[in-house]
Amino acid sequence: MTPRLTRRRFIKSVIFSGAALSSGAGFYLASAQSRAAGGVERLISLNINGRTRRVDVMPQETLAHTLRYKLGLTGTKIGCNRGECGSCTVTINDVTHYSCSTLTHSVKGKEVMTIEGLRGADGTLHAVQQAFIDELSPQCGFCTPGQIMATVALLKTNPRPTRDEARQALSGNLCRCGAYDHYLNGVMRASGQLS
């Protein structure tokens, strides 16, 4: 079966072809120039979604930037880019972090999990993803990857949270559509507490 040209694939291809032509490439080239010795090595290995990825990372680069613009993992969204909205939430060693406020160099040797890493090898959705679909949790969907990652981390440490515990665990993720209750329904379903 040939891959369908979905809206997502189309946008991704435009982003990547654009990067090579536009001033974006100039930005990376310029910052690759000589720098004082003693700091971090730029070429590093990262463990992303269980795979080792070699990537060239600027010293001041954030994980959100690396994931989206170096590794093409655009499921992680950048909303505010200031640690105030939660749409860039990923898990690092099973703990939630704002990837926009994490230096990529600080996750060397740690396990980073993004929304792309949740799906099984055979394409089955993660229980939380399926539960969020079943409960119609997302409205516009922009904050959903972050909400799902926060839920996955919660259920790892607390497999049957109360609604209040879930509310607390998801409190670092804003939803401008205000679909909070639907997300909580999703958490309850994912933890087997809704029939």
Binding site: Q60, E61, N81, H105, G172
Partner: protein, 329 residues
Amino acid sequence: MPAFDNMPDMELYQPVQIDDALALAARLADRGWLVGGGQDTYGWIKDRNKRPEALIDLNGIESLRGVRETENGIEIGALTTLTEVATNPIIMERYSLLSKAASVVASPQIRNAGTLAGNVAQDVRCWYYRRGLDCYRAGGNLCYADTPDAQNREHAIFEASRCVAVTPSDTAPALVALEAQMVITSSSGQRVVPAASFFVGPAINIESTTVLRDGEILTAVRIPAKWAGAEFYYEKVADRNVWDFALVSIAGAMRIEGGNIVDSSIVCGAVQCTPRRLTSVERAIQGRPRNEATATMVAGMASQGARPLNQNAYKMPLMDNLVTKLLTA
């Protein structure tokens, strides 16, 4: 308006030994910037309002993590995250004031990254200052928050000296109430400063809220056994329950014997540039029961001497009411 999504070009050092970090901090001095959780750091740098030449990422230094029991209390490593402080069994059992304070900082993700040392050393949240204006705190010669039509609802009602910004830390009032000791290390040695004198107001140093100097690193916080297992009360009042900084917070520790308060330590956050110890209230309630009558007796005492700005007089009754809640909870 540029988007400022990326941080500008900088060097990054990731020492794994404290000695290497101290040598770097001494060598780079004001050109370097210490990073713990980085949750206060990256906004400053993305906005280009602070421009360090190099970041010193302390997260690789394992000796700065964790909670240890000492002869007289506990020692909390500087890099211990706020989540760890909030959920540590020893702190929850003996110093629940501090675990409660750490549990209400910002959001879960920020607590997962943010460190105890970073929380007390973070810069003030005055938006005029953080916008990059050339105010007193930024080395200029005026205050934008203390003008007739300024937005100063969140600013200071005590101890203003040119700058009217308040302490943003939720854990700082708890640490001052618990009479914590701050361990400050530099390449030339170590000094231990009581939490109450670790924080400094604008009259002493208008460009820094702590006594930390270039080349120094806050490496640990010691909590003496003095208040272990005392009666505690902590409350943070903010517009939102998550992310938001305190409008006023209160942290109190009380020893009660024979039904009366024999000793207490009560501190308010977000009313001045440093945590404000309510010594007059402490003296007045000594020897009296923790009840409504005592609360009525000290009504209005906490806010005495306040000099509110145009939009923050509400902080006076808020302080007084928090003292009432502390005494009647």
